[in-house]
């Protein structure tokens, strides 16, 4: 696995040789926007303006951005509890996400889901739920539907290293392989399921072994390297779109905050040292990309400052609009239980 689990490594700028500068700039913008949106959510949760839990993925942004580069709106993406990055990387609006987190009628899920139940059907985001492997079988079905309909659309199932400890994942991988359903399983391995380190939960610290158990192609990548994620996802999505069945991508990454909400000092987990955290902060998907682009002459400090300022304005505008939006009408409580 090339030492990816060792946090003291992979601090250097990422390899961007041969990459289109415009594509890199778009990915940089996406990573930065997700980062700043989630840091804003952290601040607003801390100051009490957000009522419900937010599971933040700061530090993991490059995974969703790299995978989404290979997707189109007719694909079917499912997430879990830590899915802000998944939906934003598909182009969902900041305002829609913020309004949803605030429980507003204008939110992605009409204010009925909050941070843990996100939906953006028009962009191919079929939904996220907090039961960690809850959507994994659903992704298999959405992929099977694409196959039965004669399209080459694919389903993507984002899951974590904790979810692979649930039987649903193995049933789903086996079913997808037997039916040759077009599904990309993306494990974001951040080494922690809630508070528990993977070494306390599994005999090995990588999950890619399950891909060989279910006889599907697999790649393991530095999840904090957007180019590496993009390249691996591209190869695997090509395999899937060509009708050759499901595939598995393991992205090694780390979340900077605790399991839920903004704190770095509690709920961060057994065996999680401040030294590890500072090492992982040095394996930052954002700064490693920025430095590489600056060295290659396709990005500058001035451009970066302008971009930060533009996104800051987007975040503030989206938040203020969401704060002023209406809540769902009381009738929504009963009106949305069944289709009307």
């Amino acid at each position: 696995m090339g030492g990816l689990a060792d946090p003291s490594r992979f601090h250097q700028p990422i390899d961007i040789a041969g990459q289109d500068p415009a594509v890199l700039q778009g990915q940089l913008r996406a990573i930065l926007a997700i980062r700043m949106a989630e840091q804003h959510l952290a601040d607003m949760r801390r100051n009490g303006l957000i009522g419900g839990p937010v599971h933040l993925g700061v530090g993991q942004e490059a995974v969703a951005v790299g995978v989404s580069a290979n997707l189109r709106a007719s694909d079917r993406v499912f997430g879990a509890h830590r899915s802000h990055s998944h939906v934003l990387a598909l182009g969902a609006s900041l305002h829609g996400l913020f309004a949803e987190v605030l429980g507003k009628d204008t939110g992605l899920s009409r204010g009925m889901g909050g941070s843990m139940h996100l939906w953006d059907g028009p962009r191919g985001f079929y939904g996220s739920v907090p039961i960690v492997s809850g959507t994994v079988p659903l992704a298999v079905g959405a992929g099977l539907a694409a196959k039965l309909s004669g399209t080459d659309d694919v389903a993507v199932s984002y899951l974590g290293d904790g979810a692979v400890e649930e039987g649903a994942v193995h049933e789903s991988m086996n079913l997808a392989r037997v039916l040759q359903a077009p599904v990309l399983f993306v494990v974001e391995n951040n080494f922690f399921a809630s508070h528990m380190h993977i070494r306390l939960r599994q005999p090995l610290e990588y999950t890619a072994r399950f891909a060989s158990a279910h006889d599907m192609p697999c790649e393991v990548v530095d999840g904090n390297d957007v180019v590496a994620v993009n390249k691996a996802a591209s190869r695997l999505v090509d395999h899937i779109r060509s009708g050759r069945g499901p595939a598995f991508l393991e992205a090694i990454t780390f979340r900077w905050y605790g399991h839920v909400d903004w704190r770095e000092d509690i709920d961060v987990g057994v065996n999680r040292s401040t030294e590890d955290l500072s090492n992982w902060r040095a394996r930052d998907p954002l700064s490693r990309l920025t430095v590489a682009m600056e060295a290659a002459g396709c990005w500058s400090a001035g451009q970066h400052a302008d971009l930060v300022e533009a996104i800051r304005k987007d975040v503030v505008d989206a938040w203020e609009k969401a704060m002023n939006d209406p809540y769902p009408q009381p009738a929504a409580l009963l009106d949305r239980v069944y289709a009307r």
Binding site: R76, F78, G107, S109, R110, G111, M112, G113, H117, W119, G121, Y126, G127, V129, I131, G134, T135, V136, P137, L138, A139, V140, G141, A142, G143, L144, A145, A146, L148, S149, A155, G167, A168, E171, S172, N174, L175, V178, L179, A181, P328, A332, D335, R336, V337, Y338, A339, R340
Partner: protein, 321 residues
């Protein structure tokens, strides 16, 4: 044309697969007549194994795949040849399918049909016998139907598949030999289906679902010989529960006997009684349900376990005395 309950289910599948190209079926045993009786004979040969999919032993993944396929615009039917094994799929049913519409603000609806078969008796014992309809009727967002007649076996299955909501369709192997003539298919809107009076009477309301309706109808015949006029209400749709037809019946007869093939505590019989009582209808009430024990395997205990026409007649007579 003459059908029995099993072939009526098969006719529904044929209608669905012919009419809706987006319909497909998945579940265990679909390529074997042994698992699903006469209710799916040769569907795989007529419509292809890509639309009638026999699956690995993965109740959860298959049910979840049905939910996901429905979200992608298909009309999947997931078949569980025995409800007991379906308990592995509770997350897909209760957490995902039932809640999806509500938690995404009514913007997406997983219109999956989950066919759960009650397959009991014959000394099969505790894990090959359960009738858990009351569990599922407890969950908002899930439509729960229990056909008791040959016509409903066909027509409620079609209505379940056409419905945009997730539906639990529960059929009972003890009903498969029931025969009737069927008219050509007319699609029903499941949202407006509910309890229905199958036999009118003056003295007593027998209220039941699924196989218990057959017991109630037979008991009504026997009670008639004793000069008691029993009305029989077939619940048909357990969730969302619309008790009006039951309430009106009991208002008329003044006596309610609820009969349920599930357990007594927190069962459908209790829900029927509460629905009548809270509407201020003054009536003598009783219920017959399974004793609060797992199904036994020994034939002597099995005979004591399940409600019979005799127990219904005796209880009804006491209620009226």
């Amino acid at each position: 044309m003459k059908y029995n309950y099993g072939t009526a289910i098969c006719a529904a599948f044929e209608y669905i697969l012919e009419t809706y190209p987006e319909a497909f079926i998945l579940g265990q045993g679909l390529w074997s007549p042994w698992y699903v009786g006469n209710s799916m004979t040769d569907l795989d040969k007529k419509f292809g194994t890509h639309r009638v999919i026999d699956t690995p032993v993965s109740e959860l993944a298959c049910t979840g795949a049905g939910v996901g396929a429905a979200l992608a615009g298909m009309k999947p039917i997931v078949v569980h040849p025995r409800m007991d094994f379906m308990l592995y799929a509770m997350d897909a049913i209760v957490n995902q399918a039932a809640k999806w519409s509500h938690m995404v603000g009514g913007q997406a609806h997983p219109g999956v049909t989950i066919r759960a078969i009650i397959n009991r008796g014959g000394e099969q014992g505790a894990q090959h016998s359960q009738a858990l309809h009351a569990w599922f009727a407890h969950v908002p967002g899930l439509r729960v139907v229990m056909p008791a007649t040959v016509a409903d076996a066909r027509d409620l299955l079609i209505a379940s598949v056409v419905s945009r909501d997730p539906v639990m369709y529960i059929d009972d192997r003890w009903l498969y030999d029931l025969e009737d003539d069927l008219a050509p298919v007319e699609e029903l809107d499941l949202a407006v289906q509910g309890p229905r009076c199958l036999r009118e009477g003056r003295d007593l309301s027998l209220v039941a679902a699924g196989y218990s309706v057959r017991l109630a109808l037979d008991a009504a015949d026997r009670l008639s010989d004793k000069g008691i006029s029993a009305e029989v209400i077939d619940l048909r749709v357990l969730n969302p529960f619309a008790p009006e037809a039951v309430v009106e019946s009991v208002r008329k007869t003044g006596h309610l006997l609820a009969i349920d093939g599930g357990w007594r505590t927190c069962g459908i019989a209790g829900e029927v009684m509460a629905s009548v009582a809270e509407r201020g209808v003054s009536a003598r009430m009783g219920r017959i349900a399974l004793p609060d024990a797992p199904a036994p395997s020994s034939r002597v205990l099995e005979k004591a376990y399940y409600p019979t026409v005799d127990t219904i007649v005796a209880t009804a007579s006491r209620l009226l005395s």
